[in-house]
Amino acid sequence: MTTETKTATSIIACHDLAFGYENKPLLQKVNIAIPQGDFVCVVGPNGSGKTTLLKLALGLLQPTSGQIEVFGKAPRHARGRIGYVPQHPRLDPLFPVSALDVTLMGRLGRAPSLLSWRGKDQERARQALDEVGLGDRMDHHFAALSGGQKQRVLIARALAGDPELLLLDEPTAGLDAHVEEGFYRLLEELNKRLTIVLVSHDLGFVSGFVKSVICVGRDVLVHPTSEITGEIIADLYGSDMRLVRHDHRCSEEGHQC
């Protein structure tokens, strides 16, 4: 961790950001700022542009207009400080890699490009696996791990590159509820030293540790978690949305809880 004191600048800042495919606008007039240490959940219906927002932050997509800055720079120049956990990849069940092999891939940006991994990279990858609770599974075949364990390995892979910002795309899709719970506890722990932005299509998010919510719909709005009301959610998803109730209050009309 760096010891230099940082001013309370935003880690991710969007200014009138817009993005669309061909002539179809997807995101418009996005103005958000994510401060250091935040734990943000990006929610919205399928196809609303949540993943697009993450890809813009990674510099994998370029905005049609407006600006997005990560650590005060163009996203592609900030990649070394970002840990990315993609949506569960469709993976060949025979792909010949161990959990450690996958985690080491997170060191590619830091290790010398030729020949094998250094002891230092191996060490860092082992620590990352320990941190996600898979220290005893390092040599296991990646494909043979359970869905939740695979997801943890992908987080370890992101952590191995010593990021300051963690971006996660639908990390809990397809996980059992109790696995998901443990998963959020891990993120809460990581949030003590990392800024976290998590994309989710379900609303299981409003569990204690999420600090703010970005709703991606017709407009992209930021709400502190405490302000999330049923009205906002109903507005975003339409009225027939079923909610997993956590600590927010639902309004009388709009949806059933």
Partner: protein
């Protein structure tokens, strides 16, 4: 029966240079076959490898024609195959990166045109056309000492490149988007992988011929994949499987005077299906 086949084969290996060369060619080619074949299988580019294999006929045909008609000796037909394979890899790679949705159509076109160029030049070449058959189905008994050196040199090249860049090659096969975010030039490594595939295909063409290459390139690696949990294990097992298949193919085909390439492929295919069935849970 087997004992008879075995004795005849061992006697031949003891007595004839061409048998020793053939044996050595099979074993040497197996090294690249196991290493590169593993990448081809995990990156799922066997169709591309098939396309590259068939375009080598263009290189073989053109150089053969130049040799016979114009007395051109600067490159051997196998050298011509190397050039044709690398060219095909470059074209197919460019197409698959830039025209994603039409990739397979274009590979099919390159594949067929490469063969057509080869056939045209072979028919323009005066003399017997038996060469066509040996290009298509391989004639490992015709391997010369020059070919052996070329096979060995290509082996070394493949091994050095893979040793240097195995981290990036694996990452690109596993999750290329993530690799790109780590600063890996994924397109360059994709081309590198296709280049390695092209070189390996040429090695194997001399062993089993153009049409049968694809089986020898992918099936040993696919079998190895059923047992290996890490890439290097897969490569090592694939190399061993490939070497034993080419050697047994040669041994079994010798006494009854059957084509070695075809026998090798029949063995390879049978071994693959048996292994796959046995490992099915």
């Amino acid at each position: 029966m087997l004992a008879f086949l075995g004795t005849a084969f061992f006697d031949a290996v003891r007595d004839h240079h061409f048998m020793q060369y053939a044996l050595l060619a099979g074993v040497l080619a197996s090294v690249s076959c196991g290493v590169v074949g593993s990448f081809v299988v995990i990156r799922r580019i066997s169709y591309i490898a098939g396309g590259i294999a068939h375009t080598t006929l263009a290189g073989l045909g053109v150089v053969h024609y130049l040799q016979v008609v114009h007395g051109f000796t600067a490159i051997s037909p196998m050298g011509g195959a190397v050039i044709a394979a690398l060219l095909a890899a470059a074209i197919i790679g460019w197409v698959s990166l830039h025209l994603k949705q039409r990739e397979d159509t274009v590979i099919g076109a390159v594949w067929a045109m490469g063969m057509a160029i080869g056939v045209v030049f072979i028919s323009l070449t005066p003399g017997y056309t038996t060469d066509l058959m040996s290009y298509l189905f391989g004639n490992i008994l015709m391997v010369s000492s020059t070919d052996l050196w070329l096979i060995a040199a290509l082996d070394v090249l493949v091994l050095v490149v893979v040793a240097l860049f195995h981290k990036q090659l694996l990452a690109v096969c596993f999750d290329s988007e993530f690799a790109a975010l780590q600063g890996v030039h994924i397109n360059r490594f994709y081309f590198l992988l296709l280049g390695l595939t092209a070189l390996t295909v040429v090695l194997l063409v001399s062993v089993v011929g153009i049409i049968l290459v694809i089986a020898l390139l992918t099936l040993p690696a696919a079998m190895a994949n059923l047992f290996a949990r890490r890439l290097w294990q897969m490569m090592a097992i694939a190399t061993l499987i490939c070497a034993s298949l080419t050697t047994s193919g040669l041994a079994l085909s010798y006494a009854p005077d059957l084509p070695a390439g075809a026998v090798t492929i029949l063995l390879t295919g049978s071994a693959f299906f048996v292994t796959a069935l046995l490992r099915r849970r």
